[in-house]
Amino acid sequence: MGQFSYFAGEVVLGLSALALLLVGAFGGKNSVSFVRYGSIIALIIFSFTGFVLNQKGTAFGGAFIADDFSRYVKALIGLSAAAGLWASRRYFKLANIDKFEYSILMLFAVLGMGIMVSAGNLLSVYIGIEMQSLALYVMAAFNRNSSRASEAGLKYFVLGALSSGMLLYGISLIYGFTGTLDFGVIADQLRQGQHIHTGIIAGLVFLLSGLAFKISAAPFHMWTPDVYEGAPTPVTGFFAGAPKLAALALITRVVTGPFGNVPEVWRQVIIVLAVLSLIVGAFGALTQTNIKRLMAYSSIANMGYALVALAAGGAAGVTGMLIFMSIYLVTIVGIFACILQMRTRDGAVEKISDLGGLSQSNTGLSIIFSALMFSVAGIPFFMGFFGKWFAFAPAYNSGLVWLVVFALLASVIGAFYYLRIIKTIWFDDKVHDFVTPSRSLAFLSLTSALLLFPILLLPFVAVPARKLIETAATSLF
């Protein structure tokens, strides 16, 4: 096996993408379902290879790292992508764009994310990001007959290209001043207490800016609301989950790997990003009427919370970030499974007011939707609260008290707009009768709501899960 076992998951993904592409190309319309389920299986295999093979080490001369961190993050990414793919079938069918290419693009995007998460070299950082992004651009514009979707795709592409430019510029600066692309060698050069050349700091700022664009952290968030609104809903749901985690994992790798010895350099950048994201996320969402736009601002705010944990630094901070993001991913899958169920006889609706009086026509969906909203608002008794608790505790311990208090206040403002959805569901007059959802959507929304209900808090789940995440986080140090 040798080095191969380190990147076996990616190989499986790449080969199955190529094979399924051929199947789709020759099979035409009839093969769409086959390609989809094949992709789902490939994604699930990808998620678990890291755990099954249980191999740790580096490949390609240090450019690709397989460790506890990468396998945990990849498992989350793979599973949420599989869930997203499974949930998308009916939407695409009814929108008349049920094409096999979507599944293939998803596989390539996840492949890119796998490379990002395992990056051990500035070049593999760039390759991973570009691979992921190019697939995502196309997915955003997947409904090419819709001008809004095309606009979303174009906007995402142009701004994405800009951010790639910044990223590359940052990489080139770092390369220029250190003479290497390898994370380990950079780390050796940047020792604690030593003078750090301004050029390296400038490079790091550019690098982080480019990455911040990918997690839509303010002030690089401009594209998010438009893309979220314009893209087909299943795509939006996917955007809100896996790519965010992948980019955050990459940021984590960069700040703990090459710049791990000099936390004072990157910490201020992360803090600024966190504070701005919290502000933009909290206030931007207040006046939104479209639920997808609302979720865009919500994801900006949530990235702010994740960055608060990351700003704490150390294994504790990374643990907090991973716990927060794991819970966030479950929530996002559930919320978008609910949003996809907002469909009347005349097609999908996406205004918040369309949810009016849902509790009178569909109690089950109302309870699930409300539970998810309470959870993402961070109200105790739901997992979202524990996500915040574990994200804020390390930041608090590392002395960032003001940041935590600030984040808590932002979460109160956030609670207001999540409550508005609950208010619309329960208190308003009935607007629509939604059609019966497909089984996959009902299953996904119910499962994620159940997971967020304190089932996970039972000790025999919570303690091992926490241990797993802690091992993942410590493997970075």
Partner: protein
Amino acid sequence: MPILSIITFLPLVAAFMLIGMSKMTKAEGQAQIEKNAPRVALFTTLAVLALTLLLVFNFNTSTAKYQFYEEFSWLGGGIKYRMGVDGISVLFLLLTTFLTPLCIIASVRSIKKRMLEYMVAFLILETLMLGVFCALDMVLFYIFFEAVLLPMFIIIGVWGGDNKVYAAYKFFLYTLLGSVLMLAAMLWLYNFSGAVLGAENATTDIRTLTKLDIPKGAQIWLWLAFFASFAVKMPMWPVHTWLPDAHVQAPTAGSVILAGVLLKLGGYGLIRFSIPMFPDASIYFAPLVFWLSVIAIIYTSLVAYRQADMKKLIAYSSVAHMGFVTMGIFAMNVEGMQGAIFQMLSHGIVSGALFFAVGVIYDRMHTREISFYGGIVKYMPMYAAVFMLFTMANVGLPGTSGFIGEILTMIGAYQVNPWIAFGAAFGMILSAVYALHLYREVIFGEVRNDKLAGIKDLTKSEIIIMAPLVIMTIVLGIYPSLITDITATSVEHLIADFSTKIGGN
């Protein structure tokens, strides 16, 4: 047997059962489910009441230790599932389980829509309230404390009056804003315990945290953060403005629970956290709390007098009565603390009863305007008698439970600052003014309104609700030792512990 967990989670199980049954029933069976939901809820809450009574009878009053202690590993890192009761919390459990069945009986007639969901919300609410009083772990406490907002938000928002959405929002956001500051303080405490006891022993155990010696500078901030949360919940003047809105819009049973139990969470929190954990800061801030309390007592009494809406009047009177509670707690002697606990329990019964009483005539006439009524003693003699008793208890007439709490808190406060006791006594006079005003306008006087003709006296189910409340009000007024005997050991221990901490510095 983990009896506390059983008591706490039994209503939750029943709530899930109700949802499950309704999901499994076809459309034609739904009416039957709606009809049976209150019965299921009633039997569950009665069972919980019986278990709680059993608990109280088995409670050992000679020790200040936490009893019926349960501990399970939970989230790791020192955060465990810890439950237990002492003399201070055990009676609040009883208060909660005592009021909830009455609320359910009262709701059967007054709730017109979505009975099943209403009962589910109420059962969940009971679980959460009981959880607050049982929790011995800070994180667990916070979860229950905060989660109480959810069912209450839904209860006000769905079954409330005309302006329900505004009231529900105001209630939710006010209390949430207060609580997140407490969360920040809890994070600090968690971190601090790790710093003192070693990182691997970091804990959120309330008992361990109480023993820590926290530096005075930090105490000030922590005290303020906790106070922000508890003061809103109490509510203390000037953060009380959510209460009248919430009360007026909530359905009758919602108001009863709000006044009867939810307001006590703040006072309970002050006794459980602020006093024992931050003694220096408590001493430092005691004058502030005293003056806020006295302002609350006098000012809100005056405001109450000028209200045109019966529920609003009682809501403002609740703020005034909670002023006695904070005054008693921060007197920091045995009398004051005993009085505060007694006052909370008594107010839970009396104000709950008053809201029930308002609900009785509201169900008949669909208005709470004081000027609408007048002279209903002619038609409802029994109601007039019951209302009289609760009005007197609200004023604090000797022989009713209201008197004991107020006199004890005033004795406690007098030892610290006579002027405060004087202000509170003045407030008692004002409470007589507004309470008797309400009684005279509604019950006595000319019948000014023809619509009142033929209004029916108390029905059988209303008598069932009122009887236990009447009995409790009188029994506690005549024989207060029923409560003070149970609380005494824990309160004395609390005060002794407090004094040594203060003396040590």
